[in-house]
């Protein structure tokens, strides 16, 4: 009898909880300002959740408040709430509700949501995602707004602009841009008989120095990324472009990976792991974050990354004596451009209000604060944050940074190259063969098969 009573009790409890909590949509609050009033007239969810008095908004909104959702990354949680508060203060009729998502699975989740027209109003996107999303028709063409609000497009670096353009129209604004540079361990250099103030200037020097380091200290010279496809292709493409080659041909219709320059560069990459053995044994399972950890624990003498790792390295090992420098050159230096853009989705309730927020994030004043690395605005290059000496090589890299072809299939192409080159890395195929196979697949993809 007692047992049955207990079961009924649990049942009742669950049932009442279900009723009380209802749907998550209604009961969520807006903004991060805690306790701000909202009368959300355009959310369509019945506006019952927050149940507070009117907003008393001033300004030419006609007294209506718009609530927009913004999907951001979890790493921005410390800065975004502050920025949202400032924006809302400057724009009384607009409220922004932010949801944070982890990097893991972010692209997949955004993709599924957008495909079902169930995404947010404003969305944060890595540089490689903007053009595909635009091509799928899921982003708003904001060119009219840009003209209307007189946004100075010349203030953006050229590279980032390419990543938000599709069919000659703008679909997002860049706010964060970055390019990689070299980290090197001064102490290990000294131990190996190298001058700690003379990091390698050419790629040949990098290989030579690494060999010397391995000989004298037993430590691996350079951290290669064998696993994550983004990291892998970033390193590989740097070599290819810096050697005068490219991934695709001029009009982005065919692969250019079988050119002598590309093959040579790819061979250098594979040789570093297989022939010269200057990267750790664990290379094939390392992504760049692991490389950073290896660098911080002095298991690797050099690695290449963005300036966001400076703080992380310091935190992991405060006593580490390291320096930063431009990536060593081959024929030239062509670092790959990375970064993030903010855009308005095709399902945005109020495209203009959403654009205002995007414009805010990409402005010269706000973008340096919001960006973990650098602002996409030329005028912000002299910002306080960027004065530290370790940051200079990264800043300088930005001037050489090369934007990747802004085509929708770019991520898939990276995948294809990664899949084939991996077999070259483990010795199953020669570099030429791998690149030829990859090229066949890329050509088929671009031809629409």
């Amino acid at each position: 009898m007692k047992k049955r009573f207990a079961v009924l009790l649990v049942f009742a409890l669950i049932f009442s909880l279900l009723v009380a909590c209802g749907g998550g949509k209604e009961s969520s609050n807006s903004g991060e300002g805690g306790g701000t009033d909202t009368s959300s007239s355009s959310t369509g969810s019945g506006g019952s959740g927050t149940g507070t008095a009117d907003s008393g908004s001033s300004g030419g909104d006609g007294g209506k408040t718009v609530e927009l959702t913004y999907w951001d990354g979890t790493w921005a949680e410390e800065i975004t709430p502050e920025l949202v508060k400032e924006f809302e203060a400057q724009n009384p009729g607009i409220k922004i509700k932010v949801e944070y998502f982890p990097w893991d699975g972010m692209y997949d989740k955004f993709l599924v949501a957008l495909r079902n027209d169930n995404g947010p109003d404003i969305i944060n996107m890595a540089v490689d995602w903007t053009v595909p999303f635009a091509a799928m028709g899921k982003l708003q063409n904001i060119t009219p707004f840009i003209e209307q609000y007189g946004v100075d497009m010349n203030d953006f670096y050229e590279g980032p602009l390419k990543t938000v353009t599709y069919n000659g129209q703008y679909y997002a604004l860049p706010y964060r841009s970055e390019a990689n540079a070299l980290y090197y361990n001064k102490k290990i250099f000294a131990d190996a008989g190298l001058d700690p103030e003379q990091p390698p200037a050419t790629w040949d020097e990098l290989i030579e120095f690494s060999k010397q380091i391995k000989e004298k200290t037993g430590i691996a010279g350079f951290g290669q990324s064998g696993s994550e496809f983004g990291n892998f292709t970033a390193q590989l493409y740097y070599l290819i472009y810096s050697n005068g080659g490219s991934v695709l041909n001029e009009d982005y219709t065919k692969s250019a990976l079988t050119s002598p320059e590309a093959v040579e560069a790819a061979q250098i990459f594979v040789d570093m792991y297989r022939k010269h053995k200057i990267s750790p044994d664990s290379t094939m399972e390392n992504n760049n974050t692991v490389n950073r950890n290896l660098f911080a624990s002095e298991k690797v003498a050099m690695f290449i990354s963005g300036n966001y790792d400076v703080a992380a390295v310091r935190e992991a090992n405060p006593d580490l004596d390291f320096g930063t420098a431009l990536q060593p050159a081959l024929a030239e230096r062509k670092p790959i451009l990375g970064g993030w853009n903010a855009g308005v989705t095709n399902t945005a309730k109020d495209a203009e209000a959403a654009f205002k927020f995007v414009n805010f994030l990409a402005s010269p004043e706000i973008s340096p604060r919001y960006s973990l690395t650098f602002s996409s605005r030329k005028s912000a290059a002299g910002h306080e944050k960027y004065k530290a000496p370790e940051f200079q090589p990264f800043l300088e890299s930005l001037n050489y940074a090369q934007a990747m072809p802004p085509i929708p299939q770019w991520t898939q192409i990276k995948q294809i190259v990664y899949n084939h080159m991996q077999s070259a890395m483990i010795g199953d195929r020669t570099v030429e063969q791998a690149l030829q196979d990859a090229s066949k697949e890329i050509d088929a993809l671009l031809a629409g098969n």
Binding site: W71, D108, V112, S297, Y308, D309
Partner: protein
């Protein structure tokens, strides 16, 4: 006398050694997890790895328990898991009984077809399920997550319940029927009490599955008001920096409740077991 003692040691020792080995195998990752959760950031990645923390800290737990979204996620997870467990049981118990005791037309095909949903990987089902839930306006709701979980838990629960009930001797039910007890009565008063271990096992399975479910929760929940623990745990890994200390602490926090649940259920489990043995 002597040989009996030796015989005992030869039977006891290997069993204990084996069990001890199993325990170690089962537990060492969690042990490692716990040891990491009390390390400050600069001790997490050392080569060679260090077992003990030099400066153990409870900072990570502080952050996880008070400064993160874990508490709310905990509530969400509890709600979704409990509801999934309850509904699954309510539906699976009668269904398992029906399949076990009644040879009705098409039973074989129907019970096999229950499994069809399991034969497609979750990554494939995500998209159509998203479409379905979207049409019903259940995206980003607790109900949506519960329903998505049911598609996995019900088939398994039915199968498991069925096999348990089949191993229960029919005499008890037949005796009751002769005494004039109706069908439902037989189910509730005779079959249920005897299949307690089966019920407990099925419930544990269901709740644990819902508790740790990641893929559907990732795609079907958007707001912090609905997100469950596994998703919130993943949020400790940023784009370039993984907060291992925080993540491991969160992992400990997430794992303890289910362990506790199991400990509590264990009593019923054991009780049910010994009852079964006595009845023989």
């Amino acid at each position: 006398m002597r040989s009996k003692r030796w015989k005992k040691i030869f039977t006891f020792a290997p069993v204990y050694v084996f069990l001890l080995g199993l325990v170690f195998f089962s537990v060492f990752p969690s042990l490692w997890m716990f040891l990491t959760s009390i390390k400050p950031p600069n001790e997490v990645f050392t080569t060679p790895p260090r077992y003990w923390a030099e400066n153990p800290t409870l900072d990570n737990y502080n952050r996880v328990l008070f400064e993160s979204r874990i508490p709310r996620a905990f509530l969400n997870s509890t709600l979704v898991s409990a509801a999934t467990g309850l509904i699954t049981l309510l539906l699976a118990l009668p269904a398992g009984y029906g399949f076990a005791r009644y040879r009705f037309t098409g039973a074989g095909l129907l019970s096999t077809s229950l499994l069809f949903g399991q034969m497609l990987p979750a990554v494939v089902l995500v998209i159509p399920l998203y479409i379905v839930l979207n049409k019903l306006d259940l995206i980003d709701t607790h109900a949506g997550l519960i329903i998505a979980n049911l598609s996995v838990t019900i088939p398994v629960a039915v199968m498991m319940m069925r096999s348990y009930i089949e191993s229960v001797p029919r005499e008890l039910e037949e005796a009751a029927k002769i005494d004039g007890v109706g069908n439902i009565g037989v189910l509730v008063r005779i079959v249920m009490p005897v299949s307690i271990p089966g019920i407990v096992a099925v419930s544990i399975f269901t709740v644990i599955h819902a508790w740790e479910e990641f893929l559907y929760a990732l795609n079907f929940a958007n707001s912090a008001a609905v997100k469950t623990l596994p998703i919130t745990l993943a949020e400790f890994s940023g784009q370039f920096k993984i907060d291992w200390g925080g993540m491991m602490s969160a992992a400990v926090v997430i794992s303890l409740p289910v362990l506790l649940l199991f400990l509590i259920c264990n009593k019923y489990f054991v009780k049910g077991l010994s009852d079964g043995a006595v009845k023989g």
